[in-house]
C-alpha cells in the first residue's frame, strides 16, 4: 500500500512539471500584446521597449520560462499587470473561495447521487426510478447560468430569502462559512454548482449499481442469507471505486469550469478571476490562475487514485 502510494506520488512530479510547461506555453501562443494594452495610444516605440524590458518580456522564451519557474517554486508568480498586485495572493484567495464551495457542492452531489442511485436501482423500472431519472436528466441538461438566474429571481428577488450576488460586505476577507450571515451568500452558488454533477453522478451510480447487482457474487450473497439491505451495502461498496473517480472528475470540472456560475453570482473565485485575466490580457495573472487550477486538478487525481486503492484491493497489483 505505502509503496504504491509513494510510487504514485513520485509519478505526479513529472506531470506537474509538464503542467508548468503547458501553462507557460499556452499563454505565449495566445494572440494579443499585454504591453500595448498598458500603454496609452500616444506612447512611443521606445516607451514600449522599456516597459517590455521591465517585465522581462524581451528575453528569449526558454529563459523567460526558467526565470518564471524559479520564482513560481518559491511562491512568486509575478505581479498582475492590470492591478499591479502580487499574483500569488490574488490567485490563492480566489482559489480558496472556489475550492470551498466546489467541495461542498460536490460532496452534496455525491451523497445525494448515491442515495438516489441506490433508490433507483433498487426500484428499477418503477415510479421512483423514473422520477429520479427525470431529475437527473434535468440536472445534466439545464445550463447553470440559466439556473443561476432563475434561482436569483426566485430566492433573491421574489422571496428575498438569500442575497443575489457577491460575498457580502466583508468580501472574501474574514468570510466565515460557519456563520449563516456569511454562508447565505454561498447557498445559491453551491446549488447551481451541485446540480450538474448531481445529475451525472446519479446516472452513473444507478447504471453501475444495476451492473453490479447482476454479477454472480450478488447471488452468492443472497444465497448466504444476507438481507436485501446487506446485499445493497456490498453492491454500493463495489461501485465506490468508480464513484470516487467520478467525484474527482466532477470536482476538477467545478474548480476549473465554474466561470459561468461565478460570473452570474459575482463570486470572487478562480472562474471569475480567469474571466478577468483573459479580458485584460493579464498574462502573469492568467498563468498563475491556470497553474494553480491545473495543479489542483493533478492533486485531486492523486487523492482519487489513492482512495481507490484503499477501497479496491485489486488496484495495488496492476
Amino acid at each position: 500500500m505505502w509503496l504504491y502510494a509513494l510510487r504514485r506520488i513520485i509519478l505526479t512530479i513529472p506531470i506537474l512539471f509538464g503542467v508548468t510547461v503547458i501553462c507557460f506555453a499556452l499563454v505565449q501562443i495566445a494572440p494579443g500584446d499585454p504591453i500595448q494594452n498598458l500603454l496609452s495610444p500616444t506612447a512611443s516605440q521606445a516607451d514600449a521597449e522599456r516597459l517590455r524590458a521591465a517585465y522581462g518580456l524581451d528575453k528569449p522564451l526558454p529563459v523567460q520560462y526558467v526565470i518564471w519557474l524559479g520564482k513560481v517554486l518559491v511562491g512568486d508568480m509575478g505581479m498582475s499587470i492590470a492591478n499591479n498586485t502580487p499574483v500569488t495572493g490574488e490567485v490563492l484567495r480566489a482559489f480558496m473561495n472556489t475550492i470551498v464551495i466546489a467541495m461542498i457542492a460536490v460532496v452534496i452531489a455525491f451523497v445525494l447521487s448515491t442515495i438516489f442511485g441506490v433508490a433507483a436501482a433498487y426500484r428499477s423500472g418503477g415510479l421512483v426510478d423514473k422520477a429520479i431519472t427525470a431529475v437527473a436528466v434535468f440536472g445534466i441538461s439545464v445550463p447553470t447560468f440559466w439556473l443561476g438566474v432563475i434561482l436569483v429571481i426566485i430566492f433573491a428577488v421574489n422571496l428575498s430569502w438569500l442575497p443575489a450576488t457577491g460575498m457580502g460586505a466583508g468580501g472574501s476577507k474574514g468570510f466565515d462559512y460557519l456563520s449563516w450571515s456569511d454562508f447565505r451568500f454561498a447557498v445559491m452558488p453551491i446549488i447551481a454548482l451541485a446540480l450538474p454533477p448531481l445529475g451525472i453522478m446519479t446516472r452513473t451510480t444507478r447504471s453501475s449499481l444495476s451492473e453490479i447487482l447482476n454479477q454472480d457474487f450478488v447471488q452468492t450473497l443472497r444465497a448466504k442469507g444476507l438481507t436485501e439491505t446487506e446485499v445493497m451495502i456490498h453492491a454500493v461498496r463495489n461501485i465506490m471505486p468508480a464513484a470516487v473517480a467520478m467525484l474527482g472528475l466532477q470536482l476538477g470540472y467545478l474548480i476549473g469550469g465554474s466561470v459561468l456560475v461565478e460570473t452570474v453570482f459575482t463570486w470572487p473565485g478562480t472562474g471569475y478571476l480567469l474571466n478577468k485575466a483573459i479580458l485584460t490580457r493579464d498574462i502573469p495573472l492568467l498563468q498563475g490562475t491556470i497553474l494553480v487550477l491545473a495543479t489542483a486538478f493533478v492533486l485531486i487525481n492523486l487523492v482519487v487514485d489513492l482512495a481507490q486503492s484503499l477501497i479496491d484491493p485489486r488496484i495495488k497489483r496492476s
Partner: protein, 371 residues
C-alpha cells in the same frame, strides 16, 4: 441448527420421511417477448444424508430447479408452481424473512464459477465471518475462530494467511474451497452444488469432489449436485436424476441409471461419453439440439432427436414408469418386466445416426413402418 429439528414435529414424522420433497415443480420466466418454461413438473424425494446428482445438458433446467430451492430467481419475472418441502419448511410459502434465515444456514449453495462468485472487495475471512455472524450471532472473535476452523476443514493450506486474502489472490481451486467453506459455515442440512467442479482443472476437480463427498458424509448433509459430467455423477451420487427440457426423464440409484439406462436420451448420453473405446472409433453424438423452452411441443420433448419414436410419442409426454427398485423412466418404450424396467426396442434397430439428416430419414422410416 435447532430450528430444523423441532422436537414437536420429529416425533410425529415417520423415521424414513424424506428430508427434501419436491412435487410437480414448475418454473417459468415471463417477459414481454416470451415465456420460457424452464422447469416443467419436477418431482423427487431426497432422504437425509443422501446425494442426488442431477444430470442434463445446458438449458435442461437443472440450475433453474436448484435456484428455485432457495428462491433465488428475480421475483417479478418468475412464476414458481408446485411445492418444495425442505425439513418442515415449505420453501414456496415461507416469508422473505424466514427464507433469508434458511439461506446459508439450513440450505446452502455452491456455485459454478469460483472466479466471480465471491465479492472481490472483501477478504475470504470477512465473507465467512459475515455468514456465521448473520446466522449464529457469534461475536467477532468467535466468528474469526470459526472461519479459521472452516478453512482448515476444507484443507486450505496456511489458513491464517488465506483468511486475510482477497479472492483475486487465490487460485481457482482455493477459491472454490473458500466458497465451500462459506457454504458449510453454518452446518447446512441441505447443500446445493451447482456444477462446483466444472470450472476447475481436472486434477483440482477430483480433490474438490473427494473433499465434498467426505464432508457430506461427516456432516450427514443431503446434497443435490448438478453436473453434466457423468464421471462426476458416478463418483459422488447415491441417486441420479436425468433432466431434459425441464423434466426428470429418468431417475434411480446411481447403479441403475448409469449401468442399466432405459430412456433413449440417457442411453445416447452414455454412449456419447469418452470411456475406454478403441482408438479411432467414432463417438456417437446425439443429433439435433434441445427443444426451444419458449415453445415446447405437446408430446415427448425428446421426440425430435429420438431414434425410437412411436406415433403416440407426438401426442403426450409419456407418464412415469417405475419398477420395484424405484428406477423410473418416462418413455413409451419402457415397461416393467418382473422387478426391473425394460426397454423394448423396435424389431429393426435404427442405425447409428450421427447427423440430423440421417436421423430424420431413420425416423421417417420407423414411423412409416409402425403405421
Amino acid at each position: 441448527m435447532n430450528d430444523m429439528t423441532p422436537t414437536n414435529l420429529s416425533g410425529s414424522m415417520p423415521l424414513a420421511a424424506p428430508f427434501v420433497r419436491v412435487k410437480d415443480l414448475r418454473v417459468r420466466f415471463v417477459s414481454r417477448e416470451a415465456t420460457v418454461r424452464a422447469v416443467n413438473g419436477v418431482t423427487f424425494d431426497l432422504a437425509r444424508g443422501e446425494v442426488l446428482c442431477v444430470i442434463g445438458e445446458s438449458g435442461s433446467g437443472k440450475s433453474v430447479m436448484m435456484r428455485s430451492l432457495l428462491r433465488l430467481h428475480p421475483k417479478k419475472r418468475t412464476v414458481i408452481e408446485g411445492s418444495m418441502q425442505v425439513g418442515e419448511h415449505d420453501i414456496g410459502a415461507v416469508s422473505d424473512r424466514v427464507l433469508s434465515k434458511l439461506r446459508g444456514s439450513t440450505i446452502s449453495m455452491i456455485f459454478q464459477e469460483p472466479m466471480t462468485a465471491l465479492d472481490p472487495l472483501y477478504t475470504i475471512g470477512d465473507q465467512i465471518v459475515e455468514t456465521v455472524r448473520r446466522h449464529e450471532g457469534l461475536g467477532r472473535e468467535a466468528a474469526w475462530a470459526r472461519a479459521l476452523e472452516l478453512l482448515e476443514l476444507v484443507r486450505v493450506p496456511s489458513p491464517e494467511r488465506r483468511l486475510k486474502a482477497y479472492p483475486h489472490e487465490l487460485s481457482g481451486g482455493l477459491r472454490q474451497r473458500a466458497m465451500i467453506a462459506v457454504a458449510l459455515s453454518c452446518r447446512p442440512s441441505l447443500l446445493l452444488a451447482d456444477e462446483p467442479t466444472t470450472a476447475l482443472d481436472a486434477s483440482v476437480q477430483i480433490q474438490v469432489l473427494v473433499l465434498l463427498r467426505k464432508l457430506q458424509r461427516e456432516m450427514e448433509m443431503s446434497m443435490i449436485f448438478v453436473t453434466h459430467d457423468l464421471g462426476v455423477a458416478a463418483q459422488i451420487a447415491d441417486k441420479v436424476a436425468v433432466m431434459y427440457a425441464g423434466r426428470i426423464i429418468e431417475y434411480g440409484t446411481v447403479a441403475d441409471v448409469l449401468n442399466r439406462p432405459q430412456h433413449p436420451y440417457t442411453r445416447a448420453m452414455l454412449a456419447s461419453t469418452v470411456k475406454d473405446q478403441e482408438r479411432g472409433v467414432q463417438l456417437e453424438a446425439i443429433a439435433g439440439s434441445p427443444p426451444d423452452l419458449r415453445a415446447l411441443p405437446d408430446g415427448c420433448s425428446f421426440l425430435p432427436r429420438c431414434g425410437y419414436a412411436k406415433p403416440e410419442c407426438a401426442v403426450a409426454m409419456p407418464p412415469e414408469t417405475v419398477d420395484a427398485r424405484g428406477h423410473m423412466a418416462r418413455c413409451y418404450r419402457v415397461g416393467v418386466e418382473g422387478q426391473r424396467l425394460a426397454f423394448s426396442a423396435p424389431a429393426i434397430q435404427p442405425s447409428v445416426c450421427t447427423n440430423a439428416s440421417q436421423l430424420a430419414a431413420a425416423r421417417a422410416e420407423m414411423l412409416g413402418r409402425q403405421a
